[in-house]
């Protein structure tokens, strides 16, 4: 199976996934579409409940048994993930995909020395030199010492580097990293992200980062997809999206994050709470919290359209992108 150059590595179209909670069904994805191309870093940004983890994990069909596929399709590197049998899925995960999870200590087997776990991830019978080489590619000093160590003897940052080394061991085409630095200390987040980015660039693989940290991904991703209510509401190059958001939710997220405010300025939280969908949303899911909403927003489901170099799902995008950054309230 050779993918043509123009064909996306990951092609997710109109994906609908629900979770059966026993009493009712909650929609995690409400028609999410996303393409990931070769040799790029794409960040999926959203708050908890936005569906970003479901979307990321759906690429390898790594979903809990309560998850139900209700519509749409997922194609990863030529394999139709929704209909593939277990053997084909295993082969796909094994050969083409690499995963980095939020909590590195949970991803490692506590009873096994690092060297052995890395060897298993590499497959075959790699020699100690090959293992050490892989670990030093993930910028771990003293790989010999680390190979003899057990997971609990490593710091969080070191453990995450080991997990990253294991994820790239088989030269995957696609790396999926779910909040890869959220459990790490702020002072090393930047470095771990840099390592991840460098390894991705070296191998030519694509990287999908799931994160809620806008500031972090701004420095490490090529494109960003902002998720809200189970859909991708804005998707485009990081610079464009972050500097001139076209979706009011992206705008509100940027205004709510500490870090960009001037001294004495007050942060503006987004009023209300994110929606919990039980069926297809026939309006704009963000409308109840949106300052720019019009009757149309509550009556008609917006579809994705191109505007100013990105895709946006909003009836009022022109008003958002045209407006000056709203002035912040004076505080104190």
């Amino acid at each position: 199976m050779t993918a043509r150059a123009q064909e996306p590595l990951v092609d997710i179209a109109d994906l609908v996934i629900g979770y059966d909670t026993g009493t009712r069904q909650v929609r995690a994805l409400d028609g999410a579409s996303l393409q990931v191309f070769d040799d790029e870093t794409l960040a999926i940004v959203g708050e908890s409940g936005s569906g970003k983890t479901t979307l990321g994990m759906a690429a390898g069909r790594l979903l809990p048994p309560e998850a139900q596929l209700l519509g749409g399709r997922i194609n990863v590197s030529g394999v139709d993930v929704t209909s593939a049998d277990d053997a084909a899925l295993r082969r796909l995960r094994h050969d083409r995909l690499g995963f980095v999870f939020q909590n590195p200590t949970a991803a490692l087997d506590p009873t096994m020395r690092i060297g052995r776990q890395v060897a298993l991830a590499m497959g075959g019978r790699p020699g100690p030199e090959a293992i050490a080489e892989l670990l030093s590619r993930a910028e771990l000093n003293e790989p010999q010492r680390i190979m003899r160590a057990f997971p609990h003897e490593l710091s969080g940052g070191m453990a995450q580097r080991v997990v990253i080394a294991m994820a790239i061991a088989r030269q995957p085409h696609l790396l999926i990293a779910d909040e890869p630095t959220a459990s790490l200390d702020a002072s090393i987040r930047e470095k771990v992200m840099a390592t991840l980015g460098r390894l991705r660039a070296e191998s030519g693989a694509s990287l999908v980062i799931l994160s809620h940290d806008l500031r972090l991904i701004a420095r490490h991703a090529d494109r960003v997809a902002v998720m809200y209510g189970g859909r991708i509401v804005e998707l485009g190059p990081v610079v464009q999206v972050m500097q001139a958001p076209a979706h009011p939710y992206t705008n509100a997220l940027l205004a709510a994050a500490a870090g960009n405010e001037a001294p004495g300025e007050r942060l503006r939280p987004i009023p209300g709470t994110p929606p919990v969908l039980e069926a297809r949303c026939e309006a704009c899911a963000y409308a109840p919290r949106c300052a720019l909403r019009q009757p149309r927003c509550e009556a008609e489901r917006p579809e994705a359209r191109r505007l100013a170099g990105r895709e946006v799902v909003c009836h009022r995008a022109e008003a958002v992108i045209g407006a000056e950054q709203p002035t912040r309230q004076e505080a104190r």
Binding site: R61, P65, D86
Partner: protein, 283 residues
């Protein structure tokens, strides 16, 4: 999705087994609790039928070497095996939970002492303990209870201690300490309710271990004393006539296996119910 179907099948199978276990356990408990008042006949009446009579319409489980009806004897065996183990495990659970809480929360020397003590008990084979206790206290129900307690106490201490260690580091415990809550209050209000799930799971395991130990002791003649019966003493009684009257071993052995299996099945279901999502810590 084939994966989903697989999981569904496994669940249903699991549920079927659980249902079977729950039904079996329910029947056995009913027989054990109300056996003496059921119209099954007198377990102690000698020469109720022929000696070593095979199972028949009148004597479903046959008769023993003294001509006693074996069915009421098995029911009495269920009663003593269950009751004895349950009493022993209940006492042990209370003591073990308190010791585990103290070890996990107070730490330092208290922890050292309790954890070492549990290790020593754990390293002690139940059979050796049984012989020693029987030698000191004499054979009988009290020594059976003591031996079951010795064998299952470390189970409770260890599990409660390790869960406590996890819970004690959580924010709500620190917040209570900062608010000036006493050690006892933290242990009873904040820790105990959060280790109960783990205790419930241990209860069922301990109960099945207790039943095995009680049967083993009675089999060796160290537990329930004749003419009273326990499943273990019935097995021993039957083993003497294994070739000429195999129904005695078969019936009491089958009931004992069913009892232990049903307790374990229900225990697994309890554990699954308390831990709905894989990988979540038991709290």
């Amino acid at each position: 999705m084939s994966g989903v179907r697989q999981i569904a099948r496994r669940r249903l199978l699991g549920d079927g087994l659980t249902l079977f276990g729950a039904l079996a356990l329910g029947c056995l408990l009913f027989l054990g609790l109300f056996g003496p008042w059921l119209p099954l006949g007198d377990p102690l009446r000698i020469a109720a039928g022929p000696r070593l009579g095979a199972p028949s319409a009148q004597f479903l489980f046959g008769t023993d070497e003294l001509g006693r009806d074996f069915l009421p004897r098995v029911v009495q065996g269920i009663r003593s095996t269950f009751l004895l183990s349950a009493i022993a495990v209940a006492i042990t659970a209370v003591i073990g939970t308190l010791l585990g809480l103290a070890a996990g929360y107070l730490g330092r020397h208290t922890d050292q002492m309790i954890a070492r003590g549990a290790d020593i008990l754990f390293a002690f084979p139940a059979l050796v303990a049984g012989l020693l206790v029987a030698a000191v206290m004499g054979p009988g129900q009290a020594s059976a209870i003591t031996v079951i307690s010795i064998a299952t106490l470390p189970l409770f201490i260890r599990v409660v201690r390790s869960v406590t260690l996890g819970v004690a580091g959580r924010g709500f415990v620190t917040a209570a300490e900062v608010a000036g809550a006493s050690t006892l209050r933290v242990m009873l209000v904040h820790l105990l309710p959060n280790v109960m799930g783990a205790v419930m799971v241990q209860l069922t395991y301990a109960l099945s271990i207790g039943m095995i130990i009680e049967s083993a002791l009675s089999f060796l003649g160290l537990g329930v004393q004749p003419p009273d019966a326990s499943l273990g003493s019935l097995l021993r009684q039957g083993s003497a006539y294994l070739t000429i009257a195999p129904w005695m071993v078969l019936t009491s052995g089958a009931v004992l296996s069913l009892a232990i299996m049903s307790v374990n099945l229900v225990g697994d279901a309890v554990r699954d119910a308390l831990e709905p999502l894989k990988g979540r810590p038991l709290t």
